[in-house]
Amino acid sequence: MTYLRVRIIKSRIFVCLNEEWQNNLYSKTMRNVLISVFIALSACPSVFIHAQKIDLMDQLPEQYQSYKATDWLDYTGEALYDYINGGAELYLSYGLAGMTGCKYNGEGLPQVTVEVYEMTSPKNAFGVYTQSRDREEYAYGQGSQSYDDFILFWKDRYFVTITTHKATPESREALKYLASLIEKAIPAKGEIPALVKELPTEGLTPGGYLYFHHYIWLNAYLFIADYNIVDISDQTDAILAKYGDADARCYLLLVAYPTDEAAQTAGEKLKKQFAPELTPANPIIQLEDTTWFTLRVKANKLCAVFNGHTRQQVENLYQSIYK
């Protein structure tokens, strides 16, 4: 068996050859094969993407004060399970191109870990971020969350976490330094999904909405259904948003489908399984727990309001989308 493995770490290309290849390395044929491989690799878009990702890794220092880079991380697709098991599903549910990073250790210092999740698009990096925030904060990138023991942010198609086992003055400094360094290494900004701009701003809880493509996240704010009741998929953009104060909170679900027909089908499914008594003449109904609910489909978008405390609250929220 012969094999050749190419890895690019910190701008250096490592070519691993097994013994059989090595024995023939100096033959003209082998040289030609290797040259052909590199020409092919450099023309391949996936390698280009990978090389860009590695460029970001290049910005990570080998050393920061008493910290030294000890373990370089590089995972693609389901290999991420080896690193964070089920936690990988969060990233995979949004479309993950790969994760790179580094662990930093120093004598007597708590470990610091950098993880750079490269998503397939900026909107997916933004989506992961919306899952990962409790408040509005913009200290790093296009949105961040800073605590004593971790910093996370998103920028362009990257979602970045920098964590430490224990918050100490040294580890906190390292977190801030690395966050700034990585932020600067990402030159571009990513577009926020267009659907977000359709959210009414009045009454919206600060930082209180999720953007997603997987039905699992439908229950993030309140239990709606334990199955895919509105046909959410990679082809849809969905937002779940919180409105009103905690004691009078209602929830807006807004889903954009690839076609008007898909939206109509999903709307009919939700109506049949959730609120069959809805009619054009009676578009807002009161449920058994006294809360108000509406569901409407317009063009390729489905809009539903859950948990309204008054009929007017639901109507106002709906109307503010289509005003």
Partner: protein
Amino acid sequence: MEAISRRELLKRAAVLAVGTPLLLNRPVTAWANEKEAASKVVLIRNQQLFAGGDTPDPVICEQMLDEALCTLTGKKEAAEAWASIIQPSDIVGIKTNAWKSLPTPPELNEILKARVLSAGVKEDNVSIDDRGVKTNPVFQKSTALINIRPMRTHAWSGVGTLLKNYITFAEKLSDYHDDSCAPLATLHQLPMVKGKTRLYVLVLFTPQFHHLAASTFSEEFTWKYNGLLIGFDPVAIDSVGLRIIEAKRREYFKEDRPLNPPAKHIALADTRYHLGTSDPSKIELVKLGWDTDTYV
């Protein structure tokens, strides 16, 4: 188990005249099966557990484990209680959890090992392991398992539970990830696991009730609950642990903040896989020790 929506739960709640907020926060209880006998779960807490610093006092840990097991087994003496679950001829795997940010406290691992040895098991026949269990010779030939792990929120399964702690026995981890880890109870059917577990210990010394992203950890989202939940029914124990986490979230956020995603694998362990009971009304919860802010 049938698919269920919020509306279906509301209709059932109206028929049953059950408080809907309770029901909707815990759909796990809405369709639990009837069980012949209640599952006994012991919650023990000690206010002084961390009085000496950041690490739990090993003497108090020992007392907590012994007292809880005596209550669980109905034995008066600790030695008698341990002897009732572990035989000298047993080969015992202590399935711990080594997640870097919130591992099973090493003090508890060592106490369990000491108790297994004092029950007459040979030193070579006891091992503590997490990610290496599949290739660990003791686990490979084990006759008994003890499942111990801390409770924490989780980005895909809602919470990290005793049910989830056996995932390192799986050949392919992702086989158990579908539908937010719905099939985790089936790990108990794996040959290395099936019928072997003698004791479950869910550690709530400093449980994690919230997280951001998948691998971040902050002490901000933990608190000193100083508790252990032990029993023979992992579903019942996880169910009680879940109620504690949910209650803490309500207190911290000052509003209902459901786990995202919901921890449905606990309910399904009951209703679909019949591994135990998740219905609080069918769990006999015995509470010992410190009783402030118990949440259950």
